[in-house]
Amino acid sequence: MLEIEKLSRHFNGRTVLRDVSLQLKPGEYVAIVGESGVGKSTLLNLVAGLDRPDGGRLCLDGEDYGRLDEDALTRLRRDKLGFVFQAFHVLPHLTVGQNVALPLWLQGLDAAAAAAPARQLLDAVGLAERADSWPRELSGGEMQRVAIARALVHRPRLVLADEPTGNLDPANGNKVLHLLATRIREAGAIGILVTHSLEAAATADRVLRLTPEGLCG
């Protein structure tokens, strides 16, 4: 259960987010759309614990994490969150399989223990036989599928995706979006997709619009 309550964020005196509230249940997958520069990424960063709100409350499964210290937040991200970025961030010097296993490594699993779940997830995104490939051998769409596998491999409670198709052509983008939606639902996680494209947003269960006034359904 993710509860966002009256969240606000200002930059240099300029208010970007004001009193944004949102509640999501496990298995719920929402898309947030809005103009470029309206604060979608800012909101997502706050939810991800990468940035601190200037006001309001953030609660995941009853834990208020808006005021946690840096290390606790890092642990929270490591254990409960999964990310898909526009820029893939697939590490070039790790194999596809290792990239997917990375969140498990961070949790302390050794390479052998992490390999099986990673392979399972790779299978789920249709890249099972590419586990030992290097990222440079993959296409953009495949890279993002690797990123999706990586975002889910450690069974996060919350999956955040910021413009995951921004660097992809429409066909590949579509495929990735559907895959993402499927995987999130299957995992029973809460999913938030931030995008400026309505078409992309349509793959989510619910679409919310972020405006300077706030979130509206």
Binding site: N45, T74, R75, A87, L94, Q98
Partner: protein
């Protein structure tokens, strides 16, 4: 380790940057390691050499190079603190007609055995002729180490020619030095021969002292020093090692610091590589942080990346360093060409500790380089960094300009800090300040510079300007660091070059004459005597000759000696390169001191100081200070006339020849060359000397040049790598720019401009700074220049070192000595030239075979009447003589022990014409033993020495013979024997009860049918003994009976003698019996004799056929395997006695010293099963056949 692939994998991907960092660290570590390893090897070799030469010496007495009066030797030998004193005359003997020289130690073999046994020589054909042991005493016998033998290419028996004075000297290679098997070049000869042949009569250069047990060296040092004349110092051997280490320390530190600069450059390269990599991986780290990598973990892993590079670099560097050191040792020698340790062949040793330290240093360089970038990466906010396109902003701020300025400014006062213990620490601090200041300041300067850039100009110029002002971050800092180290290395090269320039000018100033002539180098064996000086001055074409005398002065114990140069000096010193002078001239002799000496002693112009000259303190006035680039340990210059007046020394080492009008240098040079024997004089022109000096300069700086070159190369590679990395980091920017229409060439130009802008300026700045201080570390890197001119490595300091090489050095001995005495010393003695008793007789007989001996020995003839007391004294004209006392003692508890003490006098036949007081004409050897039934075997000890200065001698006219504190003498109340052995001691009074018992025909005792083999021989039976015996530290009163033999002869033993049996018995009825027989190989008696003296009567001589020896029981020695007939029946005249030993084991095994095993012991005499007397039995020749001549 789970995350290792994430980080270390990234290193592998950045191959070029990683490789550059790695190579830089490898080189830095390798150079440091090599310098360290080479010097370590050289120093340990040097120290080892010193320790070997110092042997078991606790203290060493050292003087100026010219040596000191040998009268100090008996003075010190007799000092109560001193157990043994070993006089040494060290000569740096120049090989005739050759450039090289050989260090010859003129030694007294007898004291050597007790102080520095490893120096003991071994005659080439040892073993064949016992007497040849004395060949070592021959004045022309030279013993070489294997290293010297190989280097000189000679074999035993061949002759080496040396220059002595301006003449030639032939020495015979008589054997080797088995104790010195480490490749060192060294020779040993008898001190008397050395003094005589090298014109050093009455002089010693060193005395090694072994102190009595329980005497603390420090305390003894103070006591002894007070008794020595000025300029002669007592030092602990350890001090000499430190002295050597100190001498080259500044040089080593400088090289190490150069290596450190290379390492620092390596660190900066790691920094540069890591900084750029952090920039490049900024989003990667942000991502990792976003997905849950803790900040600390990230920081740790980034440090680990640097550490990994550093560790790999360290390990490879240490390996490469050892390889380099190995090569350097082979090519440049142990001092890396600086001339500190010539003549050594050091061996490289792997030192795990030091190697680990250098690996650690490499790792630290990697860590330090990675630190800032890691911190930077760990503090970046992931949210920001994750935004695409954020890479362009390179962190690192603007440096710390104020701090930088302050640190730069601090380098100025740092330069003024005076050297600490000879190390220019201030200079190093200043360098460090410059580096740190530069690094702190450069980002701000770069930014400032960027603002000044023209706004116009080509597109690429404008972009570069914008770039520089936008991002003067770590990349710039890194490049700046690399550049700074390069600049530093360049500056040092400039500094050395300008130093070389001043040295060149200085050489011109101190070499004003047209020709220079010398007889070998100053420390060596050559010199110009007065006659030769006069002949040189009288040569046609010679206008004026300034003769120069070189010596050294010991101003302070434990510090290297100071050079003394005596030559004609202008009254105002204007012909010296003066840097300061005193005002008014007084009446005192004047000296001019070098700057180094001024620094060392703080003497000021005008000051009155004391100099130790010729063993006296002489007051002199410091008339000025002159510049001396040649001797870092200081030099004193004085006028030759003053020197001659004060010391009486009229020799010279060199002459500076000024040509007369119209004379041609070539003609004069030829005339000079033909003055003395071929090759005796070296003639050189100033130009040659100058060229050689500069060559030596270059050689001593060769490694410095090399290190600088490497630092520059690493640095330049680093600059290239930095900018390559920068370019890589900005691929995107360039890609964008190219999209915008910049050509590749424009981008290249832009990069080049960015590189130049920072670099050029920095290099110029540092070069300028250093260029102004050419002598910044004069005290440190001081090269060794040949002021003592001539075509040679006339390096004053190494010469001084060699001069001392005979010295010092021995650690941890006191502990061993305290722990338990004896073993070490006994082992030492065992290798000696010491002789055992009768075994010694054979040796004496063997003396006839010494080829050098043409000596006429007095002959033993029948009919000579022995006259007393005169015949109690020594008979030095005869070859050999002994006073030989044996007897039984009773301890307070009634238990018996046997004792024996013998003093031998030997006329060697050697040194008869040698005026040296050490001439080995007469030797004293003493041997003592106690037969101790509680121990079940003998305690024994021995001494030997030549009669001469020191503590061994004899009297004619009465019995008086002594060797150290061992003595045997006849006083009004009888004989007195005093012995101080290793594990026993005794003082006994032996009172005769009648007239001497003349053996043979009124004292003419035949040893064979041939009457030539005979001795003069009388005995004193029935001596009443009282005195004190010390066993195991407990002194107890004793009483007893003894027997004394006094016998002298020149030709004793007949051919074919296998050995002999001898008895001397005191019978209870007051009579005395002496009997002996000589056996042939079959055990048959060759000759027998016996004398019986009934109580109160005169002796009766028995005919040979009336004496019979019959062995009854044998005892098998478990040590030697010999079966000794320890029970005998002896028939002499009417008496038939059975001899029973006090203990079976009275065997004396002296195979290690003399090769002989004999049995010498207390026996009881029984008649009809009843004890009727006691005495001594001696048996020889039961092992192998004894060689007699």
């Amino acid at each position: 380790m789970r995350l290792a692939p994430v980080f270390l994998g990234s290193l592998a991907r950045r191959r070029m940057a990683t490789l550059f960092s790695l190579v830089a660290i490898v080189l830095g570590v390798a150079l440091g390691m090599a310098v360290q390893a080479v010097h370590e090897a050289a120093l340990s070799e040097f120290g080892r050499g010193l320790r070997t030469l110092a042997g078991q010496a606790d203290l060493q007495v050292l003087g100026p190079r010219g040596g000191f009066d040998e009268a100090l030797y008996p003075l010190l030998a007799a000092a109560p603190e001193v157990a043994d004193a070993s006089p040494v005359l060290e000569i740096d003997a120049r090989l005739a007609g050759r450039e090289d020289s050989l260090s010859i130690q003129g030694v007294d073999l007898f004291s050597l055995a007790r102080v520095t046994p490893r120096l003991l020589p071994r005659a080439a054909d040892e073993g064949e002729r016992e007497g040849e042991r004395f060949a070592a005493l021959a004045d022309d016998a030279l013993f070489l180490t294997e290293g010297a033998r190989q280097a000189l290419g000679v074999k035993a028996g061949e002759v080496l020619h040396f220059q002595a004075g301006s003449g030639r000297l032939a020495l015979r290679v008589a054997g080797d030095l088995p104790g010195l098997d480490d490749g060192r070049r060294l020779a040993v000869m008898d001190i008397a021969g050395a003094q005589w042949h090298f014109g050093r009569l009455g002089r010693l250069t060193r005395i090694d002292l072994r102190l009595r047990d329980g005497i603390a060296p420090e305390a003894a040092r103070a006591v002894l020093q007070a008794r020595l004349p000025a300029g002669v110092v007592v030092t602990l051997p350890e001090a000499a090692e430190d002295e050597a280490a100190n001498l080259s320390r500044a040089y080593r530190v400088n090289l190490t610091l150069l290596a450190a600069i290379a390492l620092l450059t390596g660190g900066f390269l790691v920094f540069s590589a890591q900084a750029l990599s952090v920039v490049r991986r900024r989003t990667e780290f942000a991502f990792l942080r976003a997905v849950g990598l803790a900040r600390r973990t990230l920081f740790g892993w980034l440090l680990a990346e640097g550490a990994a590079v550093g560790l790999a670099g360290g390990v490879l560097g240490v390996a490469l360093g050892h390889a380099l050191a190995w090569g350097a040792l082979a090519v440049l020698g142990g001092d890396l060409g600086a001339g500190y340790f010539s003549g050594l062949s050091p061996r490289l040793q792997f030192q795990p500790g030091v190697s680990a330290l250098y690996v650690l240093l490499g790792m630290l360089a990697g860590l330090a380089g990675a630190w800032l970038p890691a911190r930077e990466a760990a503090t970046v906010s992931p949210a920001r960094a994750l935004k695409a396109g954020d890479e362009a902003s390179v962190g690192g701020g603007r440096g710390h300009p104020r701090l930088g300025l302050a640190v730069l400014a601090a380098s100025l006062p740092a330069c003024l800090i005076p050297p600490l213990e000879g190390l220019p620490l201030g200079g190093y601090l200043a360098v460090a300040c410059l580096l740190a200041g530069g690094v702190l300041l450069l980002p701000a300067l770069a930014a400032g510079l960027a603002r000044l850039l023209p706004r116009g100009g080509p597109v690429s110029a404008r972009l570069a300007a914008a770039r520089l002002s936008a991002a003067p971050g770590h990349a710039v800092v890194a490049a700046a660091g690399v550049l700074t180290s390069v600049a530093l290395a360049v500056a040092m090269a400039i500094m050395v070059a300008s130093f070389r320039d001043s040295v060149d000018q200085w050489l011109g100033q101190i070499l004003p004459a047209d020709l220079y002539v010398r007889a070998g180098r100053a420390s060596g064996s050559g010199h110009l005597d007065e006659t030769l000086q006069a002949r040189i001055a009288a040569l046609p074409g010679v206008g004026r000759v300034d003769f120069i005398r070189h010596d050294t002065l010991r101003l302070i114990a434990g510090q290297p000696p100071v050079a003394l140069i005596a030559r004609p000096v202008a009254a105002d010193g204007s012909d010296l390169p003066l840097v300061a002078r005193a005002g008014a001239a007084g009446t005192l002799p004047r000296i001019w001191i070098s700057e180094a000496l001024q620094d060392l002693r703080g003497w000021q112009p005008g000051q009155q100081v004391d100099l130790p000259l010729a063993g006296r303190r002489v007051s002199v006035a410091v008339a000025g200070v002159w510049r001396d680039y040649a001797r870092q340990t200081g030099a004193v210059m004085m006028d030759l006339a003053d020197y001659r007046r004060l010391t009486g020394d009229r020799l010279a080492n060199d002459g500076a020849v000024h040509l007369g009008p119209g004379a041609r240098a070539d003609d004069v040079a030829d005339a000079l060359a033909s003055l003395a024997g071929p090759g005796a004089l070296e003639i050189a022109r100033p130009g040659e000397i100058r060229a050689i000096s500069l060559r030596i300069f270059d050689r001593s700086f060769a490694v410095t040049y090399l290190l600088e070159a490497v630092a520059v190369v690493i640095g330049l590679a680093g600059v290239a790598a930095s900018f390559a990395a920068l370019a890589a980091a900005r691929r995107r920017e360039f890609g964008m720019l190219r999209h915008l229409g910049l050509t590749r060439r424009q981008i290249g130009a832009m990069l080049a401009r960015e590189g130049r802008r920072g670099g050029r300026w920095r290099a110029r700045r540092h070069a300028g700074w250093w260029g102004h201080r050419p002598g910044a570390d004069r005290g440190g890197q001081s090269p060794e220049l040949p002021l003592e001119h001539g075509p040679a490595r006339a390096l004053a300091v190494p010469a001084a070192l060699r001069h001392r090489a005979g010295g010092p050095g021995r650690r941890g001995r006191r502990a061993g000595r305290a722990a338990g005495h004896g073993a070490e010393r006994r082992a030492g003695r065992a290798g000696g030239l010491v002789m055992q008793r009768r075994r010694f007789l054979f040796a004496l007989a063997g003396l006839a075979a010494v080829p050098a001996s043409a000596t006429e020995f007095a002959r033993v003839l029948p009919g000579r009447r022995l006259a007393f007391p005169a015949d109690h004294g020594a008979h030095p004209d005869f070859r050999t003589e002994w006073w030989y006392a044996t007897g039984w003692l009773k301890l307070p508890d009634g238990s018996p022990v046997g004792f024996q003490v013998t003093f031998f006098r030997v006329r060697t036949g050697l040194g008869e014409g040698n005026p040296s007081t050490f001439a080995p004409r007469q030797l004293i050897l003493a041997h003592a033993a106690i037969a101790d039934p509680r121990l079940g075997r003998l305690r024994h000890d021995e001494r030997s020495a030549r009669v001469g200065p020191g503590h061994a001698g004899f009297d004619t006219g009465t019995t008086r013979v002594w060797l150290g504190d061992w003595r045997f003498e006849l006083g009004p109340k009888g004989y007195h024997a005093r012995v101080q052995g290793a594990d026993f001691a005794y003082q006994l009074d032996l009172q005769p009860d009648g007239l001497p018992l003349l053996q043979g025909q009124a004292g003419f005792s035949r040893k064979a049918a041939d009457p030539r083999h005979a001795s003069y021989y009388y005995s004193r039976p029935q001596l009443r003994v009282s005195g004190q015996l010390t066993l195991d530290g407990t002194a107890r009163p004793v009483t007893g009976q003894a027997w004394l033999d006094h016998e002298w002869s020149s030709e004793l033993l007949p051919e074919g003698a296998q050995g002999w049996d001898w008895i001397g018995l005191n019978l209870d009825d007051g009579s005395g019996l002496m009997a002996f027989r000589l056996r042939d190989a079959a055990g048959k008696a060759l000759w027998s004799a016996a004398t019986i003296r009934p109580a109160g009567q005169i002796g009766q001589v028995l005919p040979p056929e009336a004496v019979h020896f019959t062995p009854l029981r044998q005892w098998h020695s478990p040590r030697s395997g010999i079966d000794w007939p320890v029970v005998w029946r002896v028939q002499a005249g009417g008496r038939q006695l059975e001899l029973q030993p006090l203990i079976n084991d009275q065997e004396l095994d002296s195979r290690r010293s003399t090769g002989a095993i004999y049995w010498e012991g207390a026996v009881r005499a029984l008649e009809g099963g009843r004890e009727v007397g006691r005495g001594y039995l001696e048996m020889t020749g039961y092992g192998k056949k004894i060689r007699v001549g």
